[in-house]
């Protein structure tokens, strides 16, 4: 369960050393390197597929004929405790990925709608942590002094914190309210230090480069230097960290939902679907296989993509 924070820590660790290259890497060169790898093509393809599925969920559901909340009593057997009819959890022409036991709700529809929830939470949390992380990281690294002291202590505190159990405690105590927003906020509060630490380290090293000193000499203000010289040099790192955070947040959101502190039913989310499937593991294995596979492939795709992106940018810069 603690996978995610440490996973971020590992990402941060792996990206820990400041980049050695000069100017920003050419995006074209990176894309060129990336396009040659079949693993990247597959993972990018899958990400696009999932994103499209999430975006067009309402349309897809019209096509498949079953909404995410519609009960289908004919698809389940009331005499067997509500087990889906058919051997593969009710998979068939009517329900493409089978049905939920007892209610007979369509799993395809719930996967599509659940993907919306999972992806939007993960992407929002990534954007928010990136924003906080980059701002505080550059402030700490570039300006130093008291600001650096305060921000660094705060980061130390948050990173030494048993964040996962605390997230759970916090979410369980918070009133129902708007769960997705709460999830994004809670994930971000504990997620930003990992981004900020890397940014801080890198901006500290960039601060002393010749081109920054040259910019000073030509009379640029500190803010101008941050926006014109420091941030462009950090783009590669930020993009890589972002790509690697998304699967982390997807996993954590699923984990929190799995433990019952995520989005509230009837809203579907992948983690919650797997949690609902736990008691059925022996009688209806497809019920956990389907959302589990989607979750796995999505996280895997983002990780593979992030790994390769990181490598491509590194080698590009080393050249």
């Amino acid at each position: 369960m603690t996978t995610t924070p440490t996973q971020l820590a590992v990402a941060a660790e792996e990206k820990g050393s400041p980049l050695n290259g000069g100017g920003p890497t050419s995006a074209r060169r990176v894309i060129h390197t990336m396009r040659r790898s079949p693993a990247v093509l597959f993972s990018a393809g899958f990400i696009v597929l999932i994103a499209l599925m999430a975006i067009f969920a309402p349309l897809l559901v019209q096509l498949s004929g079953w909404g995410p909340y519609e009960y289908d009593a004919n698809a389940v057997n009331p005499d067997l405790g509500g087990l889906p009819h058919g051997s593969l959890g009710g998979i068939g022409a009517d329900h493409w990925l089978g049905v939920e036991p007892q209610s007979g709700r369509d799993i395809f529809a719930r996967i599509a709608y659940g993907g919306r929830v999972s992806l939007s939470i993960a992407v929002s949390a990534t954007l928010l942590t990136t924003f906080i992380g980059v701002v505080l990281g550059t402030v700490a690294g570039f300006f130093g002094g008291v600001a650096d002291q305060i921000i660094s202590r705060l980061m130390d505190f948050l990173m030494a914190f048993p964040s996962l159990i605390f997230m759970i405690a916090l979410l369980s105590a918070l009133p129902a309210g708007n769960r997705p927003v709460l999830l994004v906020l809670v994930l971000s509060v504990f997620g930003w230090p990992y981004m900020a630490r890397v940014i801080r380290g890198q901006s500290m090293s960039i601060k002393n480069r010749e081109f920054v000193e040259a910019a000073y000499a030509s009379g640029a203000s500190k803010l101008q230097i941050v926006f014109r010289e420091v941030l462009p040099n950090l783009t590669g790192t930020i993009i890589v960290m972002c790509t690697l955070s998304v699967p982390g947040y997807i996993g954590t959101e699923a984990g929190l939902s799995f433990l019952g502190v995520g989005v509230t039913p009837p809203t579907a989310s992948w983690g919650q679907m797997i949690a609902a499937a736990v008691p059925w593991y022996a009688t209806d294995p497809m019920f956990f296989m389907v959302p589990g596979t989607f979750l796995f492939l999505t996280v895997l795709s983002f990780t593979v993509f992030g790994d390769h992106l990181s490598k491509a940018i590194d080698t590009g810069e080393a050249r």
């Binding site: 914190f161 405690a169 699967p247 019952g260 593991y281």
Partner: protein
């Protein structure tokens, strides 16, 4: 060294104070009225008031917080007279839903969590670090590619998913293993091992993958550094170079991470314990969340915080011992 140690100890106290304060604020502000929960089916407003009085939840916030802190060090009583419930120090609170002291509940569940954490830790350290080392040495070979692909799967597979797949395949389909339980080792060693092997493997798979990736990256990093090039240029065989020069700097970050991860698990492997139905601290937390038994959630949170924070200090001290530079910095 002593002053360093004292300073670290002080920071532990500060962090723990903040953690308990934050936790208390959250639960004080947001949790439903415990008096209502205790009052039960045949409840009257007067009775609720009476229970509030007994629990002290009608006191101002700070008073309650310090009563709570006092309970940890000196124990406390809920209510007065014959109906009073005494909670001995260290009192982390009292669960009125189960009529048990939170501390007792945690302590009785701890052995299971420790067994799970320790077994998994042995597995993941052995497999993760050695796989990472071999991959780094044989960087670019099929072994490296295969191991890293495996590790990629490991970090992407949610552990509850692996747990369910394993349980379905091994318990239901092949019937190699029994449905896990938490027997005493002394009573039935075989059943004990059969019960824990799945949770160990599930936890270890994820962590081992991470550690393998990290070890590989670190070793490759170190091997690329200048002093290593010099060492190799001196004509030392690669394995010796690794052992003499690369191992220590590459493994120190692992020690940090391991301390944190292991301590985190002592506070309960929530998901693994839940899926396998093992009565550890994590399952206690998960169940309490389901029942909204706030004192227990709070107690487990604080306990987990204690483990992690203490592990941090232990790791730092270990670091200072392993790496002289840290001592100077401090």
């Amino acid at each position: 060294m002593v002053s360093y140690f004292l300073r670290r100890l002080f920071s532990v106290a500060v962090i723990l104070f903040f953690v308990s304060f934050l936790t208390f604020v959250i639960f004080f502000q947001l949790s439903p009225d415990p008096a209502v929960m205790i009052c039960g089916k045949t409840c009257t407003p007067e009775r609720i008031e009476q229970i509030r009085e007994q629990l002290g939840v009608n006191q101002p916030f700070l008073t309650q917080f310090f009563t709570f802190l006092g309970g940890i060090f000196a124990g406390r009583s809920y209510g007065a007279g014959e109906a009073a419930i005494h909670c001995a120090a260290p009192c982390l609170g009292f669960s009125f839903q189960t009529s048990q002291s939170v501390m007792d509940m945690i302590v009785s569940r701890l052995p299971v969590s420790i067994t799970i954490a320790a077994g998994a830790a042995v597995l993941w350290l052995l497999i993760g670090v050695s796989a990472g080392l071999i991959s780094a040495i044989k960087s670019g070979t099929w072994w490296d590619k295969g191991a890293m692909m495996f590790a990629l799967g490991g970090i992407s597979l949610p552990n509850y998913f692996i747990a369910l797949v394993l349980q379905y395949v091994l318990v239901v389909q092949l019937q190699i293993l029994p449905f896990p339980s938490t027997p005493d080792f002394a009573e039935d060693p075989l059943f004990w091992f059969q019960s824990y092997i799945m949770p160990w493997s599930v936890l270890a798979f994820g962590y081992a993958s991470m550690y393998a990736r990290l070890t590989r990256a670190n070793v490759l990093d170190t091997l690329g550094e200048n002093f290593m090039r010099t060492a190799r240029a001196k004509g030392l065989p690669p394995l010796l170079v690794l052992r003499r020069h690369a191992l220590r700097p590459s493994l120190t970050p692992i020690v940090t991470l391991f301390g944190m991860d292991f301590a985190g698990l002592l506070g309960g492997a929530l998901i693994t314990e839940t899926v396998f139905g093992l009565n550890g601290v994590g399952k206690l937390a998960a169940d309490s969340i389901g029942k909204n038994d706030q004192p227990v959630i709070m107690g487990v949170t604080l306990m987990a915080a204690l483990f992690v924070v203490v592990a941090n200090v232990v790791v730092d001290l270990l670091y200072a011992f392993l790496d002289p530079r840290v001592r100077i910095k401090a």
